[in-house]
Structure formats: C-alpha cells, structure tokens
C-alpha cells in the first residue's frame, strides 16, 4: 500500500512538473495570467506529492516494510530507528528521492517568497525549476524506482553498508545535496533572465543570497565528508582526489567565483556573460557529479551501484549544457556595453584574478578527473591521474588564492590609490614577512609550506588591521567600546564582515592542510608485547591483543600505551573488525587531536591472537585539527553574512 501511494505520488508530481514546463509557454502566447498562476500551483502541488512520496519511503523504512526492494537493501530488523531513517540516502534510489524532495522544497520557497516580486521573470524561473524537477521525477518513476517491490518478501533485510553507520554519514549526503540543489535556484533565475532577455541586475542580487546558502552547504558537505574519511575510513587521510570527491568539490569552485564576481557586476555592471557562465557551470557540475558517481564510468573507492541511471543523467547534462550555453551565446548581444577596467590595481581586478584562479583550478581538477577517459579514448592506454598531479597543480593556485584573500577585500574599487595600499597593507605585510622570517630561521625550510604559513598570517593581519582601523573610527565617532564597535560594524555591514570571517575560516583550513600535508610523520612497525616504538615525541608501547565476538563481527584490538615526552598519556586501542561477508577487515583507527598535532594509530595486522605480535602504523599529522575548526568559523561567518537584520538605512555595502 505504502509503495502504491509513493509510486503514484511521483507519477502525479511528474504530470504537475510537465504542466509547469508548458504553462508559461502557453501563457506567453495566450496572454492570460491564469497560465502563470497555474505554474505556481504546479510547483506547490509537486511539493505536496513529493513530500508525500518521501514520507511513504521513510515510513516504509521505519516500519521495515520488506515488500519494498529498497527497504530490504537498506535496513534490517535490528537497525536502530535513526539509521532506518537515514537509509533514505543509503543508496541510489532513495538519494534521488531526497534530492528531488530538497529541490522541490527550494522551488516551493522560491514560489512562495517571490509571489509579488520579479513578476515578469517568475513564470520562467518556475518553468526551469519544473524542468529540473521533471527530470528527477522521470528517473524516480521509470528508471530507478525507490518503491520497486520484491517477491518473495524476505524475512529480514540486508542492511546498510557498515561504513555508512556513522553519525557523520547522517549529515554528509543531505548537506551536499542541499548545496547542489541550492545552486539550481540561481541557475533558474539566470535562465529565466536569458529567456526573457531581461538582463538587468535585479535578479542577480536576488540569487546572491541563495548562492551563499548553497555555497555554505556545499562547503560543509565537503568538510563533513573529509571528516568522515579521516574519522571512519582509517587510513589517516581526509582527501584523496578520488573522482567522487572531485565531483563534490568542483561545483564549489565556480560557486565561490560567482560570489566574488557578482559583486563586480553589482558595483560596476561588468562581467555579465562571465557571471551567467559561472552559474551555468556550477549547476551543470552538480548534474555532472551525480552522473560521474552513478554511471560507474570511472573507478572510485566509493562503491556505488551502477545502472541505466548514468545514461539518463548524461542525456540531461547534454540538454543543460547545450540549452544553457546555446541560449547564452544567442543572447550575448544583449549583454554588451560593459565598462572597462579602470585600473589594474583595484578591487575588481583582484576579484577578476580570483575568478581566473578558481576557474583554472576547476579546469585542472576536471581534466585530471576525466583524464582516464580521454587517454583511453585517444590512445587506448589506461592511465589514471593520482594525488601527486592534483597536489602539484592546485597547491600554487590555492596559495595565490590565499594571497588574493588578503589583498582583494582591502583594495578600493575602481582604482586603488597609493595611500590606500600603504594604509591597508604596510603593517600586515611587514608582520607577515617578519613571521615568515622567524619561521624560516627556526623551523620551516620548505618553500610551499613557508609560503602558505606566511600568506595565512598576512591574510589574518590584513583582516585584524582593517577591523581595528574601523573600530577606532567607531570609537572616535560614537564613543563605542571594543565589543560595541564590533557589533555595530558587523550589523551595518553584514556581508563584508561575514565574508571576512569566512576568509579567516579558509585561512585556518589552509594552515591545517599545509601542516598536515607537509609535516606528517608516518611509521610502521611490528611489535611483540612489551616492545615500543618511538615516533616524534611519543613512545608507543604494545601491551597485547584482545579479541572479542561482537553481534555483527569479530573484533581484534591492539592495546598500546602512549607516553609523550615521558609523560603518560593513556592507552589507545585501534582495532580490526572482521565481518563475515566482507572481503577485507574494516579498520577502526584511533586518534587524538590537539591544537598542534594529531596522533593517529592504525592496527594494520597481527599474528594469531595467542602469539601477540601486532603491526602498527602511526601517523603524526601537525595542525590537522585546524581544518575542522576552520569549518566552524566558516559556518559562523555565513550566519553573520545572511542573518536577516532589519536595517534602518540601506547600509553601505562592499
């Protein structure tokens, strides 16, 4: 019954989406406002039916309705209720339903919020949203149906992949999907503006807040994914340049570029075609990402099921790219007449450079990701591109980006004066150079880490210095104290200070990546009971092996006593878990974080339990924890930037 309701809800929603696609066209021919109003109704109707379908699947998962194939493969009777709910995104069909659900929630919000605004554009915005929604609904109804039944009905389900039973996996996929889906909204506005040939800036300002929101979820989705990789996968790393990771990361780059270049359009009415292209690319990359992960055309550590869905996504990707860029090329005449850059030394040129860097990074990552395909298609040789390529190409680009983060926000628009440069950069640059010199003398002799640390300090110094100047001005004008001045500044100029806080977060992530990439120490040794291994300031003594049968697996753990600089700091027990149907044991690494470094222990092998010898891998990863702290700061900054505060006067924004 649940399956029938769910399946038919999707079919009904699909018909509504079809109506949403054609009604604006009929309306523009016919001129009757009824057609436009019905587009809005079609979106709200889709919202209702997709919500109903999603509720049906969640209900079936929670009540373990094993007549539905999807439920069988994603739960068992023993699965706790919260993991039954998260089974919604445990596999392909449910993930697509969740995606469609989020998409239609966003679309419904758009239809609801802009009931009175953007009257001319709205029908077309809703049409584009309906087209995207119709695509997902067609997949759900006819290609990978989450409500497909199974017969005979099994007594128990097969359950989730054990690696997915983790708290971070609860949040990682929905965060990413929300980010992906959020990018559909600016895309829909962009397409609507292109269709109508109405290319003034009104709509682009509207999309900015949506893009920030989407950007935030994308950032968090990627960071949580990295955290999960570090915390659960047990290899001591957080990023492997795997095709699927790249797929999740790539839309972030044009979205970030857009958030910066849109300010240039806002201020100076420049870069219209460029901004539209960035929006289209960002959206197309979300579809490309799903295509890549679900088509199985590239081999990835992320084991996803393949199927006909890949072909369907490719077809849609072709439609999106051809349709959008075709229309953009066709309309490009309307977008002419942009003023030229006044000076090379100005904020807009810094933003432009930032865009060039971000798009170059996107291009190199894209190329590396699909390189195995290109090489096999052209030379017939299987070549895959690994982390060394990505690291060596992207590190310089990202460092340049960090530099621009320090320079861009403090430069004047149009033309930065010599005075402006001296006032904003003299002291921060001096502080950073001094810091770099001290680092060089004392510790760091390698070029890229030294540059990374120095640039990070430079960015932090520019931000602190600029804020301090502004606070001093507030004190002089209004006599406010430190905290009062800070609050007023942030409230008066939310976007600027929100953005600067986000930059601080990015700097922390840079520190974490620079430290953990360049100065990790890795040791492996086979120890007998009582033997110890010295790594850095740690001494790790092997105390013995313990084995125990757990409900679902057999667990062997090694007990290690750690002392650092001679002080006892507790025992660690990394383990290996043997699941009866898994090829290899699942490792359970153990780590401890401090602000200066993480120590990470992996049990990589052992002799028979009785003989008590264990092979241990130890990683010391400096500064790694700052990556996660940076994420928290970014969240904070985004909240400051988008928090709805009523303003008395339209604040001077930058």
């Amino acid at each position: 019954m649940t399956a029938v309701i769910g399946h038919w809800s999707i079919i009904v929603a699909f018909s509504l989406a079809l109506w949403g696609m054609i009604a604006p066209i009929l309306g523009s021919r016919d001129g009757r406002p009824w057609f436009f109003a019905s587009t809005r109704a079609a979106i709200l109707g889709q919202f209702f039916f997709v919500t109903l379908a999603s509720s049906c699947l969640i209900y079936a998962l929670v009540t373990t309705d094993f007549s539905i194939r999807y439920v069988v493969f994603n739960t068992t009777r023993a699965t706790p209720v919260y993991y039954r709910v998260t089974g919604l995104w445990g596999a392909l069909e449910g993930s697509l339903l969740l995606w469609e659900w989020l998409l239609i929630i966003f679309s419904g919000l758009v239809a609801w919020i802009y009931k009175e605004r953007h009257r001319e554009l709205m029908p077309w915005v809703l049409m584009i949203l309906s087209i995207v929604s119709a695509f997902f609904l067609v997949v759900l109804a006819f290609v990978s149906d989450p409500f497909e039944s199974i017969f005979p009905v099994p007594l128990d389900g097969r359950g989730l992949n054990p690696l997915l039973e983790d708290a971070n996996m609860i949040s990682h996929p929905p965060l990413l999907y929300t980010g992906f889906v959020g990018l559909t909204v600016p895309y829909a506005f962009a397409m609507a503006a292109l269709i109508k040939g109405k290319l003034d800036e009104g709509w682009i300002l509207t999309t900015r807040r949506w893009t920030i929101t989407a950007w935030f979820f994308l950032t968090m989705g990627n960071l949580v994914g990295a955290w999960w990789s570090y915390h659960v996968l047990g290899w001591g790393g957080y990023w492997a340049w795997d095709p699927v990771e790249n797929a999740a990361f790539m839309p972030w780059l044009p979205a970030t570029a857009f958030l910066h270049s849109v300010q240039v359009q806002e201020r100076r009415n420049m870069l219209k075609v460029w901004n539209l292209s960035l929006i289209i690319i960002a959206f197309a990359l979300t579809i490309f990402g799903t295509f890549l992960t679900r088509s199985g055309i590239l081999s990835s550590i992320h084991a996803f099921s393949n199927g006909p869905v890949g072909t369907v996504f490719l077809a849609f990707l072709a439609v999106v790219l051809l349709g959008s860029f075709g229309l953009l090329a066709y309309r490009a005449d309307h977008l002419k007449g942009q003023p030229e850059l006044d000076s090379v030394v100005s904020r807009e040129s810094a933003f432009l450079l930032n865009n060039v860097v971000l798009v170059s990074a996107l291009f190199t990552i894209f190329l590396g990701t699909i390189f195995p395909l290109i090489s096999e298609a052209t030379t017939g040789v299987k070549v895959s591109v690994g982390a060394p390529y990505f690291n060596s190409v992207t590190v310089p680009l990202f460092l340049l980006l960090v530099f621009l983060m320090g320079v861009g926000p403090m430069m004047a628009w149009r033309k930065a004066s010599w005075d402006n440069l001296r006032r904003n950069f003299l002291w921060p640059a001096a502080a950073a150079l001094l810091f770099g010199l001290i680092l060089f003398i004392g510790w760091v002799r390698d070029f890229f880490p030294l540059l990374g640390f120095t640039l990070s300090v430079f960015v932090v110094a520019t931000i602190l210095f600029d804020t301090a100047l502004a606070m001093r001005a507030r004190r002089r004008i209004a006599g406010e104290g430190v905290l009062g001045a800070l609050l007023t500044l942030a409230r008066r100029n939310q976007r600027r200070y929100g953005g600067l806080i986000v930059h601080l977060g990015i700097v922390l992530i840079t520190l974490g990546i620079a430290g953990s990439m360049s100065y990790s120490v890795e040791r492996q040794a086979t120890l007998s009971v009582g033997e110890s291994l010295a790594v850095g300031r740690y001494r790790i003594q092997f105390e013995g092996l313990r084995g125990a049968q757990q409900p679902t697996h057999y667990r062997v753990e090694g007990v290690f006593r750690i002392s650092s600089n001679g002080n006892e700091s507790g025992t660690f027990s990394p383990a290996l878990k043997f699941f009866p149907n898994q090829e290899a044991p699942v490792g359970r690494a153990v780590f401890r974080s401090t602000f200066t470094e993480d120590i990470y222990l992996i049990l990589s092998g052992f002799s028979e339990v009785g003989q008590n010898r264990a092979t241990l891998k130890v990683l010391i990863r400096p500064l790694l924890v700052w990556i996660w702290l940076g994420g928290v700061i970014i969240a904070l900054g985004t909240i400051v930037a988008v928090w709805p505060v009523r303003r008395r006067v339209s604040a001077q924004e930058s």
């Binding site: 055309i297 051809l322 490009a332 290109i374 009866p580 898994q582």
Partner: protein, 188 residues
C-alpha cells in the same frame, strides 16, 4: 551572428558529451589478468574431510580450481553445473578443487550438503590463496594444464559447456587470450 555563435558553442560542448558517453563503452574495473599463461601459484588446502591437498601433487593432471562462498548467489547458480561436470569427468585425468573463502565453516558445510558436492573442497580462512590468484569477486575459476600453467580464468558463474570446452583446452595446453566473464559476480 548570434546563430553562428550558438552553433560554435554547441560544437564545443558536443565533444565533451561524446567523451563522457564513451565511458559507457568501457569497464573501468577491467584489468587484464596477468596470471593467464603463468605457472599456477602453489597452495596447500586443508580439506573439509580432514585431508590436505597440495597443488604440487596434482602435476600431470588437469586442475579446475573454483573460488566460492555460501553467501554468493552466482556461486549457487553454478553449483549444480559444476557438480554435474565433475561426475561426468571424474574418471578422466581431471581434478576439481573448490576453495571456500570469506565464509564460516558451518555455512560452507551446509552449502556443500545442499548441492551434494562430491569433489575436493577446503577452506582458505586467511584469504592467502585467493590473494595469490588475484581473486577480486567470486565465483572465479582457474583452469590449470598438466604442466601446472594457468590456461584460462573465468569470472562469474560457469555453465557445463564452457567447463568441458576449457578443460579440453587446458589438457592440450592451449592458453586463452583473455579471461572470460559470466553474467554476474558477487563482491562483498
């Protein structure tokens, strides 16, 4: 002018779509087996009946080595065919060996009873034999000629006709150019 620009844009996008579509024509996990044509890695298998079977002692015979597990559906699909082939051929110079991997002894024995398997079977609890043979998914089957060389590898379930034909080739020492594939394999 606008149309020319549009056509140019389309012409730039199509190759990208083309190369992505090309991806469907290939299997990214396909790695040509380096083991075909090489001497079979030696192993000693502890059989369920308590005996020990050493591959070295089988030289001069055609050996059929099948990796399986009780939880693997394609293994179940081929089990009856394999046993039938064995009963037909057991009077000849052919030896069938089943290697059970990633399984519990209890489930493995139940499986052998269920399909009335009568050829030699043993466990590979540490997975060492499977690793030596580069087993990636199961079932995987290896055909070894009387000189101890692997002549053919088959991934996925097998039918009787292929078994007979490939055993015949192995007897004559004919090395297949490529590994074969059944409809499905299990990876857990």
């Amino acid at each position: 002018m606008a149309w020319r620009r549009t056509a140019l844009t389309v012409a730039l996008i199509l190759p990208l779509i083309g190369i992505l579509a090309y991806g469907f024509l290939r299997d990214p996990r396909y790695i040509p087996s380096p083991i075909i044509g090489r001497p079979a890695p030696p192993f000693a298998l502890q059989l369920f009946n308590g005996d020990k079977l050493d591959l070295a002692s089988l030289s001069g015979k055609v050996v059929f080595v099948n990796f399986w597990a009780s939880w693997c559906p394609p293994c179940r699909a081929e089990a009856n065919d394999l046993e039938a082939a064995w009963r037909r051929l057991k009077e000849t110079d052919v030896v069938f060996v089943g290697v059970n991997m990633q399984d519990t002894e209890e489930n493995a024995l139940a499986y052998l009873r269920e399909f009335n398997v009568t050829y030699a079977n043993g466990r590979d609890p540490s997975g060492k034999i499977a690793i030596d043979y580069g087993v990636w998914g199961i079932p995987e089957t290896f055909f070894i000629d009387p000189q101890g060389k692997i002549t053919y590898k088959h991934v996925g379930s097998l039918g009787q006709s292929v078994v007979t034909a490939k055993l015949d080739e192995a007897r004559r020492g004919i090395v297949s150019a490529k590994e074969g594939k059944g409809e499905q394999i299990s990876i857990k």
